[in-house]
C-alpha cells in the first residue's frame, strides 16, 4: 500500500480530538482547561515483562522487568531473581547470564545475555522460558521470518527555495504472494542508535503479491544520510506493536477504546521475536 495509508489512519484516529481542540483553541485561547487530579487506581498484581529481539550473528540479549502501578515512582526496579533459558531449533537449551548492562549499538539496557552469537535462518523456531523465584513464569515461541529485500529506494525534491527544499522518500519491495505478510519500516537519520525518523507497521491484506511502495512526506534535506530498515515480521509481533500503539493512544484520547496489549509471550507481558530485516543506507542529494 502506498505511503499515505498509515498516515491517513493516524490522522483519522486523531481527527476528532484535533478538530475539537482546534475549535477550542480558536475560541478559548488562554483558558486553562486542564488540572491535576488525584485518582485511586485498583491494585493489580505485577507481572513479568520480557523484551527480547533475537538477531542472527548477535549475542542474544534480553530485558526482564515487571509491571508497576501507573502512578508509582518512575525509577525501575532491577529484578535479580530471574532465570532465562533459550531453546535453540536443535532442542539445545542455553541459559542466559544475569549481567545487566547497556548495548552500545542499540542503546538498550539489558538484564540477561547469552553466550554465543545466534545462528538462525528463516524458518528456525526458538523457545524462551523466563522464571523468577515468586513463581512467575513467562514462555514464548518465535519463528524467524524469511528475508524480504528492499527493491529500491528513491527520493524526489519539491520545487521550493534552497532553505525549504525537501525530498520525500519511496521504498519499494516485492511482497510474497503465497503468505500473509507483515512488515515494519524504520527510517533512521544518521544512526540507528537514535529514535527512528519514520516508523510504522503494515500488512499485505490489500496488496498481497504486489510490488509495495512505502514512503514519507517531504521531510528530508539535501545530504541527509538515511538508514532504511525493512523488517519482515510475524503476525504476533505485528499485533503486539499495534496493540502497544492502541494502548498508548487510548491514554489521552476520549474517543479511543482502552486496548489490552497483545503480548507474543504467555504468562506475562512482552515480546519475543526473531528479527529478519534488510537495511540500506542512502544519502539524499
Amino acid at each position: 500500500m502506498t505511503c499515505l495509508l498509515p498516515l491517513t489512519y493516524t490522522l483519522l484516529k486523531s481527527l476528532r480530538c484535533g478538530a475539537v481542540a482546534g475549535l477550542l483553541c480558536l475560541i478559548f485561547t488562554g483558558c486553562n482547561l486542564q488540572k491535576d487530579i488525584d485518582v485511586e487506581l485498583p491494585a493489580v498484581p505485577s507481572q513479568l515483562v520480557v523484551e527480547c529481539y533475537l538477531e542472527p550473528g548477535q549475542v542474544p540479549r534480553l530485558t526482564v522487568s515487571e509491571t508497576v502501578p501507573y502512578l508509582s515512582s518512575p525509577t525501575p526496579t532491577l529484578l535479580t531473581d530471574v532465570s532465562v533459558v533459550l531453546t535453540l531449533p536443535s532442542g539445545q537449551k542455553e541459559a542466559f547470564r544475569f549481567t545487566p548492562g547497556l548495548d552500545t549499538l542499540t542503546q538498550k539496557f539489558f538484564t540477561h545475555k547469552g553466550k554465543n552469537p545466534l545462528v538462525a535462518k528463516p524458518g528456525d523456531t526458538f523457545k524462551l522460558d523466563v522464571q523468577d523465584t515468586q513463581g512467575r513464569h513467562v514462555t514464548g515461541t518465535a519463528t524467524m521470518p524469511a528475508l524480504v529485500p528492499i527493491d529500491s529506494i528513491r527520493w524526489k525534491f519539491n520545487d521550493k527555495s534552497t532553505e525549504e527544499r525537501r525530498a520525500y522518500l519511496l521504498v519499494k519491495f516485492q511482497d510474497p504472494a503465497a503468505t500473509a505478510d507483515f512488515y515494519r519500516l524504520q527510517i533512521h537519520k544518521d544512526s540507528i542508535s537514535k529514535d527512528p525518523n519514520r516508523d510504522f507497521e503494515l500488512d499485505d491484506r490489500l496488496t498481497n503479491g504486489q510490488l509495495m511502495t512505502l514512503g514519507t512526506s517531504y521531510r528530508y534535506s539535501t545530504n541527509d544520510t538515511l538508514l532504511v530498515t525493512l523488517y519482515h515480521i510475524d503476525q504476533p509481533y505485528y499485533r503486539f506493536l499495534q496493540s502497544v500503539n492502541d494502548a498508548q493512544n487510548a491514554n489521552g484520547n476520549p474517543f479511543a477504546q482502552p486496548a489490552a496489549v497483545r503480548s507474543t509471550v504467555e504468562g506475562g507481558v512482552g515480546v519475543f521475536t526473531i528479527l529478519s530485516y534488510n537495511r540500506k543506507q542512502v544519502i539524499v542529494r
Binding site: 500500500m1 502506498t2 505511503c3 499515505l4 491517513t8 481527527l15 476528532r16 484535533g18 478538530a19 475539537v20 482546534g22 475549535l23 483553541c25 480558536l26 475560541i27 482547561l33 486542564q34 488540572k35 491535576d36 485518582v39 487506581l41 485498583p42 493489580v44 515483562v49 523484551e51 522487568s65 509491571t67 508497576v68 501507573y70 502512578l71 525501575p76 542503546q107 538498550k108 519539491n158 520525500y168 533512521h188 542508535s193 537514535k194 529514535d195 527512528p196 504486489q210 511502495t213 514512503g215 512526506s217 517531504y218 499495534q242 496493540s243 492502541d246 494502548a247 498508548q248 487510548a250 491514554n251 489521552g252 484520547n253 476520549p254 479511543a256 477504546q257 482502552p258 486496548a259 496489549v261
Partner: protein, 780 residues
C-alpha cells in the same frame, strides 16, 4: 430463514380477538378538519382537539388533520398546541362535518398573559402512548444554547432517560441504548448520521423544523428498525399566506430562511440554509502566521446544510409534501510536509409524501424516500493519490393507512420496503505515472421490508389499549432474517386526573454501525446483518403513573422501565475496520440490560413554564468469550461509558414582559465511567534512545469521573425594528464556569533540564468553560 416466534401466538390471539366487531346504538357523527397556525397557515401536527366534558380527544396527525367521532348534540371543544393560544369552541353536532381551526401564536407583541398548552397536558394524560417527549422548535429557540446554536437534539438531552455521549455533543443515548440505536426520521426519511462537526451539532436546522417527537419506549407499531428510540422530526410547511425571510447571525454560523405560498392557500414552500464560518477566522490566523517558522496551519473546517420543503394541495382530499436535505462537513489541510488531506462527509435526504383522505375516517399516506450518507477522504502527495470512502444509500417506500373505525377503535395498517446499498469501504491508491494502482471495494446490498397493524381500542372511558404487531424481514445476499415484533400499551384512568400506563415493545435492528470509537464519527460505516452478524434485538417493558395537578397546569409522571437486548455489537481489540473485506470476523456480540426510574414534572401554562426531570438508571453490557476472542472485558459485565446513575434536569422559561423572555437550565449527572490504566511497563523497542511507558488497562469502565453539572442562562430580547421582527438572543453556557470532566489522562512529568522522567500524574481535561454568546435573529 430464521423466524423469531417469541410471543407470536399470544400476540396474534390478542390482536385477532380484539378486532372491533361492535355495533353502536347511539347516533354519532364525525368531526374532522385541519389545525393550523393563524400566523402563516402552516399545519400543526400534534395539536390537540378535545371534548373535556366527555374526557375524549385526539391529536392531529403529521398533516395537522384530526378526526373525532362524537355523540350527536352540543359539545364544547378545546383546541390546543404548545406555543399557541388555546381555543374553545361551542358546537351543535347534528351531522358529520369538517371544521378547521387556526391557533394564534402564544407569544406576541400585544402582551396579554399567555395561557397555552393546558390541553396538551390533558392529552398527554389521556393517551395510551407513554415514554414520549414532544419538543417544539419555538420552545427550543428560547432556551440557552452552546455557542448560541439552537439544537433540538441537545434540548432533548434535557429530558429524563436521555443522555449525551459527552460534553456538548448531540448524540442521544436513550434508556441505555447506544447512539446507533436511534431511528432518526426527517419527514419519514431516514437520516443515518445526524451530526455535524464530529457530533458537536446536529444536522437539524431549527429554522426548518416544526417539532420533534422522541419515543423512548412503548414504540407504536409503525416504527421499527432501531432498538432504543425513534426521533421523528417534522419540518415546517412554510407560510401559505405571504412571502417572508428570516434568519440569524450567530457566533459561529449564520442562517437564512425563505418561505412563502406557491399558490395562496393551496401550497407553500420553505428553503433554509446555514453555514459555519470558523474557516474565515482560521484562514486569517494562518495568513498572519505564514511567515512564522514551524507554524502548523489550523485546518480548514466548515459545515453547511440546506433544507427544503414544499407542500401542495391537489384537492380537498389530496396533498403532496416534498422534503429535501443536503448537508456537508468539509475538513482539509495542507501540511508543511506537502501532504494534502481533504475530508468531506454528509447526508442527502429526500422524501415525497402523498396524503389522501378517502373519507373523514380513512386516510392514506404514501411516502417514497431516499437517503444517502457518505464520506470521502482524499490525500495527495506529489504524484501519489489515495482515497478512502464509504457510503450507504437507501431507496424506500412506505404506505400507512389510518382508519378511524368508530369512537372506540382506530386502526393503523402499513407496509414498507427499503433497498439498502452498503459500500463499506472503497480504497484506491494511484500515481500519475501509473507505477501505483491499487483498488479495493466491498459492496453489499440488503432488502428490508415490514408490515404492521395496530388498533387503539377505547374499551371504556377509563381503559384504553393500543396493541399491534409488526412483521419485519431482511435479506442480504442469501442470508435472510424475519421477525415478529409485538407492541402493546394500555392506559387506565384511576381518576379524571390520574392515569396508570404500561407498555411493551420488541424491536429488531438489521443494520449495524461499525465503530470502535465509542462515539459517532464521520468515518462510521453501516453494515448489514449477514450469516455471522445477526440482527440486534431488544425488549422493553415500562409502567407509569401520571397526575394532572394545579388545575391542569402541571403534569407529574413517573415511569419505571426494564430493557433487555441481545446481539449487541462491539468489536475486537485492534479490529481492522477500514477496507476490510472480512469485516464479519471483527464483530463481537453480547447482551445488554438497562433499567431505571424517570420522574418528570412539567408545566406548560402561564408566563412561567418548564420542567424538572430526575432519572435513576443502570445500563450494563456483556460480551462473552467468543470466536477466538476473549470478548470484551474478558467476558465480564461492564457499564458502558454512557451509564449514569443519577440525572437531574431543571428547565425554566419565563416571559418577563412583552419584550423579554428569560430562560435557564440546570443539569446534574453522576460521573461517567471510564477506563484508566492501572499499571504500566517500560518498552525499549529494538533501536532508539527513548523508553516508552505502555499503559495496562484493568476491567473496562471501572473508574467514575467526577459528577457533571452546569447552569445555562438565556435571554431573548425583542427589538422593535421598522419592518418585521427581530430579537437578540443571549446565552451563557456553563454560567458558573464549572470545570466538568471531559476525560482523564496520565502523563510523564519530566525534568526541564535533563529531560528525565521524574513523576507520573493524572490530568483532567474539561471541554467548555463559561461561554457567552449572542445571536441576532430577524424576520420580515
Amino acid at each position: 430463514m430464521r423466524l423469531y416466534l417469541s410471543a407470536l401466538q399470544f400476540s396474534l390471539f390478542v390482536f385477532l380477538s380484539a378486532l372491533p366487531l361492535l355495533a353502536h346504538a347511539q347516533q354519532r357523527f364525525t368531526l374532522s378538519g385541519v389545525v393550523r397556525s393563524a400566523a402563516d397557515r402552516s399545519v400543526l401536527p400534534g395539536a390537540s382537539v378535545a371534548v373535556p366534558a366527555l374526557g375524549t380527544g385526539v391529536t392531529a396527525d403529521s398533516a395537522g388533520f384530526y378526526s373525532l367521532t362524537l355523540p350527536a348534540g352540543r359539545h364544547q371543544l378545546a383546541i390546543s398546541f404548545i406555543g399557541y393560544q388555546s381555543q374553545t369552541r361551542e358546537l351543535n353536532l347534528v351531522k358529520s362535518q369538517r371544521l378547521s381551526f387556526s391557533l394564534p401564536e402564544a407569544s406576541n407583541e400585544l402582551g396579554e398573559v399567555v395561557i397555552e398548552g393546558t390541553g396538551t397536558l390533558e392529552q398527554k394524560l389521556q393517551t395510551t402512548q407513554m415514554s414520549v417527549e414532544h419538543l417544539n422548535a419555538r420552545d427550543a429557540k428560547l432556551l440557552p444554547a452552546l455557542f448560541g446554536e439552537v439544537d433540538l437534539l441537545k434540548t432533548l438531552q434535557l429530558k429524563p432517560g436521555v443522555q449525551n455521549g459527552g460534553e456538548g455533543t448531540s448524540g442521544l443515548f436513550v434508556r441505555g441504548g447506544s447512539a446507533d440505536q436511534n431511528l432518526f426520521l426527517l419527514d419519514d426519511a431516514l437520516v443515518y448520521n445526524p451530526s455535524h462537526l464530529f457530533g458537536l451539532f446536529s444536522v437539524f436546522n431549527s429554522d426548518a423544523i416544526q417539532s420533534v417527537d422522541l419515543y423512548k419506549g412503548g414504540f407504536p407499531a409503525q416504527y421499527g428498525g432501531r432498538l432504543s428510540s425513534v426521533v421523528d422530526v417534522k419540518t415546517r410547511d412554510g407560510n401559505a399566506q405571504k412571502f417572508g425571510v428570516s434568519g440569524g447571525l450567530g457566533l459561529i454560523s449564520s442562517r437564512l430562511t425563505v418561505e412563502g405560498p406557491i399558490v395562496k392557500d393551496k401550497g407553500s414552500f420553505v428553503l433554509s440554509g446555514r453555514r459555519t464560518y470558523f474557516d474565515v477566522f482560521t484562514r486569517q490566523i494562518n495568513k498572519l502566521n505564514e511567515d512564522t517558522e514551524d507554524y502548523n496551519p489550523i485546518p480548514d473546517y466548515y459545515f453547511y446544510d440546506f433544507n427544503a420543503k414544499a407542500n401542495y394541495k391537489l384537492g380537498e382530499k389530496d396533498q403532496l409534501f416534498l422534503t429535501g436535505y443536503y448537508g456537508r462537513d468539509v475538513f482539509g489541510f495542507n501540511s508543511t510536509g506537502g501532504f494534502n488531506f481533504d475530508f468531506t462527509w454528509g447526508n442527502t435526504v429526500g422524501s415525497l409524501r402523498w396524503s389522501h383522505a378517502f373519507s373523514p375516517k380513512l386516510f392514506l399516506n404514501t411516502t417514497v424516500s431516499t437517503t444517502r450518507y457518505q464520506y470521502q477522504i482524499a490525500n495527495k502527495l506529489d504524484q501519489f493519490g489515495f482515497s478512502l470512502s464509504s457510503e450507504i444509500r437507501d431507496y424506500a417506500v412506505r404506505s400507512d393507512l389510518d382508519y378511524l373505525l368508530n369512537d372506540k377503535h382506530t386502526i393503523k395498517l402499513g407496509v414498507s420496503a427499503t433497498n439498502h446499498r452498503f459500500n463499506v469501504g472503497r480504497l484506491s491508491a494511484s500515481s500519475t505515472d501509473g507505477s501505483l494502482n491499487i483498488g479495493s471495494e466491498t459492496v453489499y446490498t440488503g432488502q428490508e421490508a415490514s408490515a404492521y397493524a395496530s388498533d387503539n381500542f377505547k374499551v371504556s372511558d377509563k381503559l384504553q389499549f393500543d396493541y399491534g404487531l409488526r412483521l419485519t424481514g431482511f435479506q442480504s445476499g442469501t442470508d435472510r432474517f424475519a421477525a415478529l415484533e409485538p407492541r402493546g400499551a394500555l392506559r387506565y384512568s384511576l381518576t379524571p386526573k390520574t392515569s396508570l400506563k404500561a407498555s411493551y415493545a420488541m424491536m429488531y435492528q438489521y443494520v449495524h454501525l461499525v465503530s470502535n470509537s465509542g462515539a459517532s464519527l464521520p468515518t462510521d460505516i453501516w453494515y448489514p446483518s449477514r450469516l455471522n452478524v445477526k440482527p440486534q434485538r431488544s425488549q422493553q417493558v415500562a409502567t407509569g403513573v401520571s397526575f394532572l395537578l394545579g388545575q391542569g397546569k402541571y403534569l407529574l409522571t413517573n415511569e419505571v422501565y426494564y430493557k433487555w437486548a441481545r446481539n449487541q455489537v462491539d468489536f475486537r481489540d485492534g479490529a481492522q475496520l477500514f477496507g476490510n473485506s472480512d469485516l464479519d470476523a471483527e464483530f463481537l456480540f453480547g447482551k445488554g440490560w438497562a433499567y431505571g426510574n424517570e420522574l418528570y414534572l412539567e408545566k406548560k401554562a402561564g408566563r412561567t413554564t418548564g420542567w424538572v426531570g430526575y432519572s435513576l438508571a443502570w445500563t450494563q453490557r456483556q460480551f462473552p468469550v467468543q470466536r477466538g476472542s476473549s470478548g470484551v472485558n474478558n467476558g465480564k459485565v461492564f457499564y458502558p461509558t454512557y451509564d449514569r446513575r443519577h440525572n437531574i434536569t431543571v428547565v425554566g422559561l419565563h416571559q418577563l414582559n412583552t419584550r423579554i423572555n428569560l430562560t435557564a437550565s440546570f443539569v446534574f449527572t453522576s460521573g461517567a465511567p471510564t477506563t484508566l490504566p492501572s499499571g504500566r511497563f517500560l518498552l525499549q523497542d529494538i533501536f532508539g534512545d527513548d523508553v516508552e511507558a505502555v499503559p495496562i488497562y484493568p476491567d473496562r469502565n471501572t473508574y467514575r469521573m467526577a459528577s457533571y453539572h452546569r447552569i445555562d442562562l438565556g435571554m431573548v430580547y425583542k427589538l422593535r425594528p421598522k419592518h418585521g421582527e427581530s430579537d437578540l438572543t443571549f446565552s451563557v453556557y456553563n454560567a458558573y464556569n464549572r470545570r466538568n470532566p471531559y476525560f482523564i489522562y496520565f502523563e510523564q512529568v519530566r525534568n526541564k533540564e535533563t529531560g528525565d522522567v521524574t513523576n507520573f500524574r493524572a490530568r483532567q481535561v474539561s471541554l467548555f468553560p463559561v461561554i457567552p454568546s449572542v445571536t441576532y435573529n430577524f424576520k420580515f
